[in-house]
Symmetry: C2
Subunit: 259 residues, 2 copies
């Protein structure tokens, strides 16, 4: 296998499976670090503060820095901070996610009483485990005007215990699209902006890194679309049977421990 300077690891299905660690993940990450490799953790989750991942990894004995945790939610926040920091945003997302904006001094509007005379500039959708109908109505009302519309990640569902799947960010966006005809710009994997953000944090060029993940249409697609090498691991969602798709990994491994 080619030697890379940096590794972009997906989290769910690659490092963790639900609330358990993939066997060998801790040792493999330590080994890579010992060999001077740069590492980032690269997830489409947009409900959590990245700090939660640092804490969770620590529980499993994996040391990580906040800067190494790259979430779709943070990529979107970074875009807003750079380009629209003085504008007002309405967020369909968890309070934990909204706090990340508030902490950056961005004005997050919580309640919209008068849709016609509101002064909201940007509608943002993320995975929202605190979703309610009022938020959906607000989004549909706001989109009557031509405001900016961004969403964190293109995942329809996310898995919880016992192979149960729950609605993720894109499922919410699809419901809003049926009502308004409008689609957001997405920021998570497989989009370039997510990879670009990770490369900037790693300080590496895309030819020097490899994306390691279990989902063809996010992790492997992200590499394929953006001309970056990929490794599919079969420890999560994939079984290897579905690899006959448009997305092709450079390598297929049973799990991270075979790296």
């Amino acid at each position: 296998m080619k030697q890379y300077k940096g590794y972009l690891f997906d989290i769910d299905g690659t490092i963790l499976l639900g609330n358990t660690l993939i066997p060998g993940a801790k040792e493999k990450i330590e080994e890579l670090r010992m060999n001077g490799k740069k590492i980032s953790f690269f997830t489409n989750n947009s409900s959590k503060n990245p700090k939660k991942y640092v804490e969770k990894f620590k529980e499993f004995g994996i040391e990580s820095e906040l800067d190494e945790i790259i979430t779709a939610g943070m990529v979107l926040l970074s875009h807003i901070e750079k380009n629209y920091s003085d504008q007002k945003v309405y967020i369909i997302g968890t309070e934990e996610y909204k706090d990340l904006y508030r902490n950056k001094g961005i004005q997050v509007v919580n309640e919209v009483s008068d849709f016609n005379n509101h002064n909201i500039d940007i509608l943002i959708i993320a995975l929202d485990t605190e979703l309610d109908f009022k938020k959906l109505e607000t989004a549909c009302q706001l989109l009557k005007k031509d405001i900016k519309y961004f969403a964190a990640n293109e995942d329809l569902v996310y898995p919880i215990e016992n192979k149960v799947y729950l609605p993720d960010c894109k499922a919410i966006c699809n419901m809003i699209e049926v009502c308004t005809g409008k689609q957001p710009t997405y920021f998570g994997k497989p989009n370039f902006i997510m990879l670009e953000y990770a490369l900037e944090k790693l300080g590496l060029d895309k030819k020097d890194i490899v994306i390691v993940g279990d989902r063809l249409y996010t992790d492997i697609a992200c590499g394929n679309i953006n001309n970056c090498d990929t490794i599919l691991v079969l420890s999560g969602e994939g079984t290897g049977k579905e690899i006959n798709t448009i997305y092709k990994p450079n390598y297929i491994l049973e799990s991270i421990s075979y790296l």
Copy 2:
């Protein structure tokens, strides 16, 4: 135009438009009643107690009986009452809709703490303006088991003021389908069970009645699919331009007042 013994009027877009009365609706209904015609109001709305329509009509001077108001929600409730009155149901719906079940002595489970050991027999979805993520999660969890799964109406969206559309019953079902792969049995227009319920209330045969409505894919489809005459009115959603579909009305009128 053929003379009918009974008229099944859609409500939104046919009798009312938002919170206003379609001009001439009151007079036309009085005229039909004077001529001995039987009338029912026939709506896919599944969030309201039918009493609300009697009260709303009264505000506009239209007299109606509770038995004349046929909602998709009531058709579904009637099916449960007839076939599964001793079973436990979990409802994604408004408290107003749930109360209709409670009033019939049906056990409505509100909170599900243990999904594996629950004893819920039936999952029911209706238009739910009180929707929250916990309800969506409960539905996804319940559908891991092979329980009965029914939904009131097949409408993706419903209109409110200023041409804003909000998610209706089928939009919720579609979100759940993405997570679970499961689809419910629907009871509203254009399904036969809704028409059968109305005919039973009217005491008429389908050859003796006409469906009057503004939506091709619910009102006119209901007639076409079930071999019953239809009148399309252009006072609501339709403009007449979209009638080049698979659904064909027998008559097209500008509004109910031209009947």
